[in-house]
């Protein structure tokens, strides 16, 4: 388990000895993210920004106790048992795996792999079997158990670029696909490719310590791609061969 190599969600991550299916054919971009655990201070601003940007339902205390919180991005806390004061914060979001376990199990193709590497959840197609959530090892998928309420003036804060999901539909982090789409349109108008760092999902935009970096892993000159070569780079539960597109940089603690 611990010596499974870093398997990037690109052609080079595929090995016929390990992979049954051929690699995906990504067109122009393969969106990915690098999370530097050294820089993450666990403030949670990314999670709040995600709520605001993506019209995520606020469920209330009772539902949270039942285990029905809707946060697409949550901060997992890990402590060293020998040094309980040392806390590592791990922002966990949809990993947009190249070999996503959620994709083959949806009977209606609501969980779909895009040409740019995103795992898209198509709300209109979802009939709510919840198999994708059962099959996700990271447990980042959130189901709309009820029709969430937006009592005024909260409804004025809703983002018009993002659907408000009805009950019975599964949702999860989309790498702020609405922002990717907008940037695509701008770049198309200016007849150029999207520049590195031009697309900033809400969490990346809000992080105060620059712990989250977003870009195209297919672009060898991009900041994300260069960060992936860091010796601290690893993938959460990488041994499952899901080929996640979110690569984490291990936290290194120096004792003084």
């Amino acid at each position: 388990m611990n010596d499974f190599p870093l398997t990037l969600p690109l052609r080079e991550g595929y090995d016929p000895k390990r992979d049954f299916y051929p690699p995906h054919d990504h067109r122009n971009y393969r969106w990915g993210m690098v999370v530097d655990l050294d820089k993450c201070i666990g403030c949670g601003a990314c999670s709040v920004a995600c709520y605001a940007e993506n019209n995520i339902g606020v469920v209330g205390v009772d539902r949270i106790i039942e285990g029905r919180e809707m946060a697409w991005l949550s901060i997992e806390r890990f402590r060293d048992p020998d040094q309980m004061g040392n806390i590592t914060f791990l922002p966990m979001l949809c990993q947009h795996c190249d070999n996503a376990p959620c994709e083959p199990v949806c009977p209606v193709y609501a969980s779909h792999h895009s040409k740019e590497g995103l795992n898209n959840q198509i709300y209109n197609r979802c009939i709510g079997t919840r198999f994708c959530a059962q099959n996700c090892p990271y447990k980042v998928r959130r189901f709309n158990w009820f029709e969430w309420k937006w009592p005024g003036p909260m409804n004025l804060q809703l983002n018009p670029n993002v659907t408000v999901r009805s009950k019975g539909v599964m949702e999860k982090c989309s790498f702020c696909i609405q922002r990717i789409k907008t940037t695509h349109d701008i770049a198309k108008n200016e007849k150029r490719m999207i520049r590195d760092g031009e697309v900033k999902p809400a969490c990346v935009q809000t992080c105060p310590t620059d712990a989250l970096v977003f870009g195209s892993l297919k672009d060898k000159e991009s900041r994300v791609r260069k960060l992936v070569d860091d010796p601290r780079a690893y993938q959460v539960m990488g041994y499952l061969n899901t080929k996640p597109a979110v690569i984490y940089l291990k936290k290194v603690i120096h004792e003084v």
Partner: protein
């Protein structure tokens, strides 16, 4: 013990179709009330959302899937008795074949309801059907849930046709011995059966072919249902033992359910000479066999979890036996493997109340086996941050009550309106001398 005659068989079974006592309609009313409670709970859920159940993150599948697997399992045993034992020419199954096959048809119908009940947006279930649309969108055949749709519908169609084919000569007997409305209805249902030599030839051929068609379905359908879980990545689910494990468990629970139906049926309609003690004893012996297979499967799972030395797998199975749901695990092992072993003792398997009681415990144990697998697997998965617990709610209990009441409602209507023992097969048994004279 005098040999049964054709007339005795006909009369005993046709007597069961006489107008019922008052208590009967009371029981039917109570069961119908249960069905209506279930229906109302479901309608409430459709309007308010799946949240009225107890499912959450990480346990997104709860009693609906447990009941689905439970009812499909019960259905399989009926087909084992009526189809597989027919192919093996095991004459002792003849008295219970009709009721077993009926149990199958009704259990599949109820099992088929649960995939609808557990959907988040059930009004869009047609997305799962391969209907050509303007958008050229087809369902995903890689998904185990699609395999389920095909498997369950195949099983329902084949079982229903098998059941109806077997019923034909009996429907003609009822037609010939009745008058008025009943005569008209059974005249329509018996499709013009005259008992001509040609018709008997066709009947026995098609019954044999349907039995041969239904036999592989017993193995394949429940294997497919087990792959709903085995094809998932979750520890505790992702194992190749599931297909034989589930099929053996299905037969185990179904045989117990057959006994629960047969024992009161036998008492109420005075079928003691037809469904003899020996028949019940043979079913009990088979339960010992399936109980041993199920016990072996439990042991294998633990052995493999240890042998793999995979920390996730080991932790999943450690938690199952010692975590918050250990009482469910305890019920599962005790009721499914220990209590059926009591049937090894002849005294116990010839005592009717004990037979009934232990079979009831087996059914409860098998329900808990599905609980331990479905809930226990997902509640304690890969990421400790996503560990959680689950408890069903009133709405879920209501729907579960509705499903059990619907099964017994359909069965209790069946026993009073259709011959609950196959007169044809009993007469064949006499001819072949396979009827035993056990008391």
């Amino acid at each position: 013990m005098a040999q049964l005659t054709y007339d005795q068989i006909d009369q005993t079974i046709l007597d069961s179709l006489n107008p019922p006592k008052k208590g009967y309609w009371g029981i039917v009313a109570v069961l119908l009330l249960g069905v209506l409670i279930g229906a109302a709970s479901w309608v409430y859920q459709i309007f308010i959302g799946i949240g009225v159940g107890g499912q959450n993150n990480p346990v997104a599948w709860g009693t609906y899937l447990i009941n689905f697997v439970f009812w499909v399992g019960i259905a399989h045993s009926g087909t084992l008795i009526s189809a597989i034992l027919h192919l093996f020419r095991a004459g002792w199954r003849n008295p219970i074949a009709r009721a077993a096959e009926t149990m199958t048809v009704f259990a599949v119908c109820i099992a088929g309801l649960f995939p609808f009940i557990h959907l988040g947006r059930v009004w869009l279930v047609h997305y799962m059907l391969p209907i050509p649309t303007q958008r050229l969108l087809w369902p995903n055949f890689m998904s185990p849930l699609m395999f389920d749709v095909i498997a369950i519908s195949t099983y329902l169609i084949v079982s229903s046709l098998f059941w109806y084919t077997g019923l034909l000569p009996d429907l003609a007997v009822v037609r010939d011995r009745s008058t008025g409305t009943r005569h008209k209805i059974f005249k329509f249902l018996s499709l013009g059966w005259t008992g001509a030599h040609e018709q008997w030839r066709h009947y026995s051929r098609s019954y044999l072919f349907f039995a041969a068609l239904a036999t592989p379905l017993v193995i394949s359908v429940h294997s497919v249902v087990s792959w709903d879980f085995a094809l998932g990545i979750t520890p505790g689910w992702h194992t190749t033992i599931f297909a034989p494990y589930f099929v053996a468990g299905a037969i185990h629970s179904g045989l117990a359910m057959v006994m629960i139906l047969m024992i009161p049926l036998r008492k109420i309609f005075n079928y003691q000479k037809i469904i003899t003690q020996n028949v019940l004893e043979n079913v009990a012996k088979t339960i010992v066999f399936t109980g041993l297979i199920v016990g072996f499967a439990y042991a294998t799972e633990y052995f493999i979890a240890w042998y793999s030395q995979n920390i996730v797998e080991m932790e999943s199975f450690r938690w199952r036996a010692t975590g918050e749901y250990r009482w469910g695990f305890f019920i599962m092992v005790l009721f499914n493997t220990m209590f059926p072993m009591l049937f090894i003792f002849k005294k116990i398997r010839r005592t009717i109340p004990l037979l009934f009681g232990i079979c009831l415990l087996v059914n409860i144990g098998m329900w808990f086996e599905r609980f331990v697998i479905i809930v226990g697997g997902v509640a304690h998965g890969f990421s400790p941050h996503a560990w959680g617990l689950y408890a069903p709610t009133l709405v879920e209990y209501g729907i579960m009550l509705g499903s059990f009441c619907l099964f017994f409602f359909l069965f209790i209507l069946f026993v009073k309106h259709l011959p609950s023992i196959s007169m044809t097969e009993m007469k064949e048994t006499i001819e072949k001398g396979a009827l035993d004279h056990g008391a």
